[in-house]
């Protein structure tokens, strides 16, 4: 007892000695309140849309009614529409899947060549990819519109897919180069010694190893194509060709607002998109920054 009193520092020690990373009670409260506020801000709009999707036509002005009279008719109406939600979903899927496939297939070999081989034109090509990603929609949209119009490709899947390739091809090549850089060159060399051609080494050895990278690149491209607004709004002129991003605009125009249809459609799109997203999200950032940091 006296020994402890001799050294007053020791009396304080139990109070101050916390394990690393542990917080005081006050710190904990502060931490959790910040997190709860931030999380609430993040999820509230989504919850509100889900909630409103169960309201009838006037519910947006009078939300409390939804508790007493929830309806599911919005979902039925949206799904039943002719040239409506399901058509648009199909269009979005067709366009996005085609864009993704073309982007990844065309860009994969280029990404590999850029990652492994040094050839005249290497740097300019890398620069082109980088610069293309900065292209504002404004500089290409008018020429593309005129070109597609003279080829009679406006209002067609093919036209929109070609347009999206201007974004997806350089993006995929850039991303995939980053991935191929992470695969050791020794693997290719071993393949070459065993008699593979450079293309054989790429196809049989590197592509199987790069499968996660290919998947993430594909997913990103898909997301971009699926959420694109500017081109689709101008190029797809009739409701049977709208993508979701265009179709949703028709629910909430300048003069009318079908919030019921809009919220129900939003919930269905997001439920699908968010499920896929959470399955792959761990890989998303590492992929993007791996390519970009080079």
């Amino acid at each position: 007892m006296t020994m402890v009193l001799d050294r007053p520092v020791a009396v304080e020690a139990p109070v101050k000695l916390r394990k690393r990373g542990e917080r005081s009670r006050l710190g904990s409260i502060a931490y959790h309140s910040v997190m709860i506020v931030a999380s609430a801000a993040a999820i509230f709009p989504v919850l509100w849309v889900i909630f409103m999707s169960f309201g009838d036509a006037d519910a947006w002005a009078n939300p409390s009614e939804i508790f007493t009279h929830p309806v599911t008719s919005n979902y039925g109406n949206v799904l039943k529409q002719h040239d409506g939600f399901l058509t648009w979903l199909g269009n979005s899927l067709i366009v996005a899947i085609c864009t993704t496939l073309i982007g990844v297939l065309i860009a994969a070999t280029a990404g590999y060549a850029l990652s492994r081989m040094r050839f005249p034109g290497h740097r300019p090509l890398m620069w082109t990819f980088l610069v293309t990603q900065m292209f504002p929609v404004a500089i290409l949209i008018v020429p593309l519109y005129n070109i597609l119009s003279s080829l009679h490709l406006l209002n067609s899947y093919a036209g929109l897919v070609l347009t999206y390739c201007t974004i997806s091809v350089p993006f995929c090549a850039w991303m995939l180069k980053g991935y191929f850089d992470t695969i050791p060159v020794e693997i290719d060399e071993a393949g070459r010694i065993d008699g593979c051609t450079p293309f054989g080494a790429f196809w049989r050895l590197v592509v199987p190893l790069a499968r996660p990278g290919l998947a993430v690149t594909a997913f990103y491209t898909f997301l971009t194509a699926w959420g694109e607004v500017a081109y689709a709004t101008q190029f797809m002129a009739t409701p049977d060709k709208y993508t979701l991003a265009v179709g949703l605009q028709t629910y909430v125009g300048q003069f009318k607002a079908e919030w019921g249809a809009m919220t129900a459609a939003s919930v269905m799109i997001s439920a699908f998109a968010a499920t896929v997203f959470f399955l792959v999200q761990k890989h998303l950032v590492s992929g993007l920054t791996a390519g970009a940091a080079k």
Binding site: H32, P136, T289
Partner: protein, 311 residues
């Protein structure tokens, strides 16, 4: 010629592998780009451009006007360029600052050991998982007129309702608010990845040397995060500068020039009223040059070791 031949012999594999991409880029990007730049030197608009109506083909009648469009816009005679540019720069800086600030703050919090951390993480990522065009419509519902929930909440607090989507000034606040909501999760996840890759030994060593929490943040976290910060800030600036969907869908079609950024304004020029193709192309060329200058300066500044300490 022989040198060319030899170069080709040695590199033909590489060329064969990049050929498809080069071909696609030449046809789909460079050719339209060249046409776009050509348009910017003409007076092309909807009425004088070549087009096909039914079986009749009407030939183009627009003329080459040299740099008139650029002069018209850059001299301020056109009247919208500098105000829109000013707002675009403000918009980009404010959005990226908010994205980065909130993103870093939340990433630091998520990087600490705490209960419910996974739960918070999932909730905080949610805005990224929802397709942006859906999020924008969700926000239109929230910010909508007198009856939107945000205005009702303000009313509940005794505050006056705000014309979020129709008043030009509030439109600007709204687009920043929505863009911040959509963009923070990406920054957060990117920076969290960066934080988690910092070796714990660095913090232990700093702690042994008596560094306070602030010092550990300032002298360990910040420098270690610099490479990833530079990348995400550069990406963020380019994306935000070119951000089309949020402004277009939230306030776009109804808004005047004052709440447009350069990209949406150029789009409006090209596709509303008498379609001003040359004006829009000129804007496109100007936007691209601005971004190129920015990217080069940014890269160069980061590249020079003298600035390393201050960046």
């Amino acid at each position: 010629m022989t040198r060319l031949r030899r170069g080709f012999d040695r590199h033909w594999y590489a060329y064969a592998m990049v050929a498809p991409v080069v071909l696609v880029l030449a046809l789909l990007v460079l050719y339209p780009l060249a046409r776009g730049l050509w348009f910017s030197l003409t007076d092309a608009n909807e009425s004088n451009i070549g087009r096909t109506i039914g079986p009749n083909h009407i030939p183009s009648t627009y003329d080459f006007v040299g740099l008139d469009n650029y002069w018209h816009i850059l001299s301020g005679a056109e009247g919208h360029f500098y105000p829109v540019l000013g707002w675009t720069v403000t918009w980009t800086l404010v959005c990226v600052a908010l994205h980065y600030g909130f993103g870093l703050g939340l990433a630091l919090l998520l990087n600490q050991r705490a209960r419910f951390r996974t739960g918070y993480r999932i909730m905080l990522i949610l805005p990224w998982a929802v397709p942006p065009f859906v999020s924008v419509f969700a926000w239109r519902l929230l910010l909508n007129g007198q009856e939107g929930i945000v205005n009702k909440a303000l009313g509940g607090l005794g505050l006056p309702a705000v014309a979020w989507l129709s008043d030009p000034t509030w439109q600007k606040v709204s687009v920043i608010l929505v863009n911040t909501w959509i963009g923070v999760p990406f920054m957060m996840v990117a920076l969290l990845g960066g934080l988690q890759s910092i070796p714990a030994e660095l913090y232990e060593a700093a702690e042994m040397d008596g560094a306070s929490a602030w010092h550990r943040f300032r002298y360990v976290t910040v420098p270690s995060l610099r490479p990833i910060s530079n990348t995400v800030i550069l990406l963020g600036c380019i994306w935000t500068f070119n951000q089309f969907a949020i402004i277009f869908l939230l306030v776009g079609q109804a808004a005047g020039a004052s709440s447009q950024i350069l990209v949406t304004y150029a789009y409006q020029l090209a596709f509303s009223g008498v379609r001003d193709y040359s004006g829009s192309a000129t804007y496109g060329a100007l936007i691209l040059s601005l971004l190129l200058v920015f990217a080069v300066v940014y890269k160069r500044r980061l590249g020079s070791p003298a600035k390393e300490g201050t960046a």
